[in-house]
Symmetry: C2
Subunit: 256 residues, 2 copies
Amino acid sequence: MHVLVTNDDGVAAPGLAALARALSELGRVTVMAPSKNWSASGHVKTMHKPLRVAEVVLADGTPALATSGAPSDCVALALLGVVTEPVDLVVSGINPNCNLGYDVTYSGTVTAAMEATIFGVPAVAVSTDHRAEIGFDAPARVAARVVERALAAGWPRGVLLNVNVPALPEAAIRGVRVTRQGLRPYRDALDARLDPRGVPYYWIGGDPPTGVHEPGTDFAALEDGCVSVTPLHLDLTAYAAHDGLEAALGGMPWPS
Amino acid sequence: MHVLVTNDDGVAAPGLAALARALSELGRVTVMAPSKNWSASGHVKTMHKPLRVAEVVLADGTPALATSGAPSDCVALALLGVVTEPVDLVVSGINPNCNLGYDVTYSGTVTAAMEATIFGVPAVAVSTDHRAEIGFDAPARVAARVVERALAAGWPRGVLLNVNVPALPEAAIRGVRVTRQGLRPYRDALDARLDPRGVPYYWIGGDPPTGVHEPGTDFAALEDGCVSVTPLHLDLTAYAAHDGLEAALGGMPWPS
């Protein structure tokens, strides 16, 4: 098996190297990641400028490719042929903050996995709330085992797995739960300031987001010390809203 | 009613002004849009640098606010208080290319509406495959009528509307259809070149994407000359994959 490993924090991030090491137990690993940090960058397709790819070596000696593109660009470049060997699995991470609830719509870690899904390749996003005393090696090993087992069971078509690993010693993790995307109330606040010339500028600030810990959600699994595995797909249709809208719009006099 | 109008093509785009004019029939309009083009930028939250807001005037004389942020940043800035009057509706566009199928995961036009949805504000993304002989005024008027009717019927909670208007004269449009997100096979191809110094660089190129015209989809509505209204939500959970994964992972021996 050939695994492509990428991330959104950039090629120098320690979570990337830890993930590459853990996944090398499953097969051959190619690392291709952005040269810079793309956190909260969303799903990007770089079409209006050319992209560069450079050979680099990670701090642990792992050879890697660094690109000038976003995480999703890395996946596209690799799957379109910059990486010549066919890729069987794409794993993105480890993001040093969990990607829960609405985070998945912003997360570069998740959108790298989305891009692979569009290409029809099984894909996983891996995140943890990083703590120095836990590090990335333990969450990386846990993620690799989850991925290995999901692959063995047959990958669900059109689905990517959003894996969040609790920041606990391996022995303290209480198991794996398949979850749904929970609700993430953001607590963003506007922080308006004046620059030295008296001109206003704005920070999007505020407190860290919380989660609504409903049973079955990603938040609840982590709170209970479990690994959260949320299957995600790219069909955003709100089917439940169809009939109400059809009643309102389908009968709209036309031409109006 | 107070409507916030934004886009991802930047404050100078003609589709923005046309949309602002059409929506002024529904209520008071504030325009706040990025100062530059953010196409295919995805869902962005700018947290690591401050944002600027400048007062500008559009080509048709409409006053507007231009920001240094992404489309979703514009919405966040406005709803967090840079725009002091409460916003009842956010409309993003008009994008000069339709946003269909997987496009919605990349589209800055759609992610502006997603951001409003996270804030709990009704939101609409409007796109058309622009043709000079049709312009933006007719699609903008059509979109405004659809939005007015959806508002009158009661906005579905947590839902944004992805509206794609066919590039046809108003009288030739055959009606409005509530649709589901279709499948968009991209035909991206790698275009590898050498710069004047012999160093490789890459374009993500290829043919324009097609659509799979299954009944009920956004693609099918447009092909039939109808306005496509797709209700979207931000729960990406692939519920259909839950049980299979639970069987594979829920029973995983742990600690493993």
